[in-house]
Symmetry: C2
Subunit: 146 residues, 2 copies
Amino acid sequence: MISKACKYAIRATIFVASKKEEGIKLNIKDIAREVDAPEAFTAKILQVLNKTRIITSLKGPYGGFYIEDYQLQQPVINIVNALDGMSVFQECGLGLRQCSATHPCPMHDQYKIARDALQDAFQNTTIGQLAEQVNEGGSYINNLGY
Amino acid sequence: MISKACKYAIRATIFVASKKEEGIKLNIKDIAREVDAPEAFTAKILQVLNKTRIITSLKGPYGGFYIEDYQLQQPVINIVNALDGMSVFQECGLGLRQCSATHPCPMHDQYKIARDALQDAFQNTTIGQLAEQVNEGGSYINNLGY
DNA sequence: TCTATAAAAGATAAATTTATCTTTTATAGA
DNA sequence: TCTATAAAAGATAAATTTATCTTTTATAGA
Ligand code: FES
Ligand code: FES
């Protein structure tokens, strides 16, 4: 569906967002531990998130990752786009070179419904909303408690 | 979403199904050419499809691949299951070890809607229905005509 | 039985994704 | 300025998926 890197990215972003109120910066190690992702891979992913302005980073002592107000308002689809691109929301479900209503594959109608539902899910949810949910304790971004 | 192998598999199965009325057996080369997939890779995929009884094969002269009546009634999800397994319909959208309503990720509700829509699409469509659509000329299983 | 044909099986190889490790750059505070 | 710290950048490596090539097996018809 979406890549592993992208899933780590979303969880990491939610974690950083969920700590905004505390006004602290988070380092790679803490983020990787919290979201249960490999540390070095997480570092690479955080680079992308910073470069695409999903979150913000500062080097050096007292540095780390944090999120700014405008970034909380971004839809989660921006993270998907940063890591995987938008192709999952546009591709033909049966692998034709392009999805098109005028040259459709035989599953086009049914597949498009699901694909659009997926896009809506990521488009209509903001990073801030997800962080709030986590802070309220109703949902989780790691596998602890199993 | 689903693997490339699985997309080739679905297109190949639809092609074989669409030729059922002609009562002929199709060989690997013809199938690969029609669905615009690499020939050797298609051969591997057809092996799986035969082994999982999605289609039927016969070795030797006058051999090849064909589909039987009961196989036309199978839902497309059986092909997905044969190639990729069912995990795409069960996995957490944010990569938690397991999707669960009692230990949900913050996107669980929205994601589940899309994931279930995808499952419905593959579950409620049979191979025969797709083949019929192609035979009626309303949809396509290759990239010709671009 | 022999021959030709076509899929099955098995061994590799190429490409992509996931993951790790080392070196460089930026920056705060002493 | 110097030192320590933390991310960025770059070079590899491991794992998985996609793809190819060779050998074996099954089978129809001569
Ligand atoms: S053409 Fe296949 S999903 Fe649109
Ligand atoms: S827990 Fe993440 S989708 Fe269900």
